[in-house]
């Protein structure tokens, strides 16, 4: 709170300390939405500049980190809404690596972890199936199913009610599962 107050009073070193301390958190949030470093940095910079202008509205009830997380989430959602929508998921776009990954990993056990060398392909596949969702649903599902965040944590990060988060997660999970099933059944068509 003191740091926030000092920064609000125009103390440059206090603002620099906020940036230093919380940029890993802001980058982590922005990384959910973007994979390109330039976009993540652009979003993170906007978050801190916006945070500085809104320091007056920070009343110190919650943590600075929580407050910045919410600003970061909203900033990234706005950036994505303004960007061009990705084309609809098509099986024919599947790269050889992605097809091979799916073949290799089908029929495994329940809680498999992808190997490091395959993580780029798995991440590409994740982006492919997530593209069927709205940015809000993508963020919800990534937090809950990807990062093991609780419903409450998502509600705090987004400002939505817990019931809204539950509904979004259910709907998103169903859509993404169907999209993945479509990719898995590509040979049957």
């Amino acid at each position: 709170m003191d740091l926030a107050r000092q920064a609000q009073a125009g103390d440059e070193s206090a603002f620099a300390e906020i940036v230093r301390r919380y940029s890993p958190r802001v980058f982590s949030v922005a990384s959910r939405f973007f994979r390109q470093r330039s976009l993540v940095e652009e979003a993170a910079q906007e978050v801190f500049l916006k945070a500085f202008t809104q320091l007056g509205s920070f009343e110190g009830r919650g943590s600075i980190e929580g407050w910045l997380t919410r600003i970061a989430t909203n900033t990234c959602l706005n950036m994505i809404r303004g960007a061009k929508r990705r084309p609809e998921l098509t099986v024919s776009d599947l790269t050889d690596d992605e097809a091979q990954w799916l073949d290799q990993h089908s029929g495994g056990d329940g809680r498999e972890q992808p190997s490091v060398e395959n993580s780029v392909v798995a991440t590409d596949l994740a982006d492919r199936v997530l593209s069927v969702l709205s940015p809000e649903d993508q963020q919800t599902l990534l937090m809950i199913d990807g990062e093991d965040a609780s419903i409450r944590e998502v509600a705090e990060a987004t400002g939505w009610s817990e019931s809204k988060v539950k509904v979004r997660a259910f709907r998103a999970r169903k859509k993404v599962r169907e999209a993945m099933a479509k990719l898995l059944n590509r040979g049957d068509k």
């Binding site: 940036v19 940029s23 890993p24 992808p114 993580s119 199936v129 990534l142 199913d145 169903k174 898995l184």
Partner: protein, 157 residues
């Protein structure tokens, strides 16, 4: 759960968050039910790729803080300039061009010789005798004007 389809379970929660016993029940059912097997497989792989995606984090570069502080200083500098000065800076070009135009028009009006148009007959006839006499340089009273006019009328008779 043996006779109950598991699709709702799969959509309600991630496979990673199922307990061992729940997972075992889901897998048992999936082995026996074709449609649920497909759904389970899709949900399982979705969980794997989402966890992989969530691990893809970009760390701040060493220059990030410097970049943000530079942008912050720039923003501060803009905000510290008084509003009227900022308004002047943005409107300076417009105001200057308006002033030059006005000066040019004034110069054209006062510097060039005035062109007086000759009076037409119609304009001349509109001038009354009274205004001609009153407009003369001599100091004359209104009575003198009237007497001058009526003397002329009397002479004419």
């Amino acid at each position: 759960m043996k006779d109950k389809h598991i699709i709702d379970v799969l959509d309600n929660t991630s496979i990673a968050s199922l307990s061992e016993s729940e997972l075992s029940e889901v897998q048992t059912h999936a082995r026996e039910c074709v449609s649920c097997r497909e759904a389970y497989e899709a949900a399982r792989l979705t969980g794997v790729v989402l966890q992989s995606r969530a691990q893809t984090k970009i760390e701040p570069s060493p220059f990030f803080q410097t970049r943000v502080m530079a942008a912050w200083r720039e923003q501060q500098a803009v905000e510290s300039v008084p509003a009227m000065l900022r308004l002047w800076k943005s409107a300076r070009a417009l105001v200057s061009s308006m002033a030059v135009t006005t000066a040019a028009l004034a110069a054209l009006t006062f510097m060039l010789p005035a062109q007086t148009a000759p009076l037409t007959d119609q304009t001349a006839s509109m001038l009354s005798e009274e205004s001609v006499i009153m407009g003369s340089d001599d100091q004359v009273s209104y009575e003198q004007v009237l007497s001058t006019i009526y003397e002329d009328d009397d002479e004419a008779r």
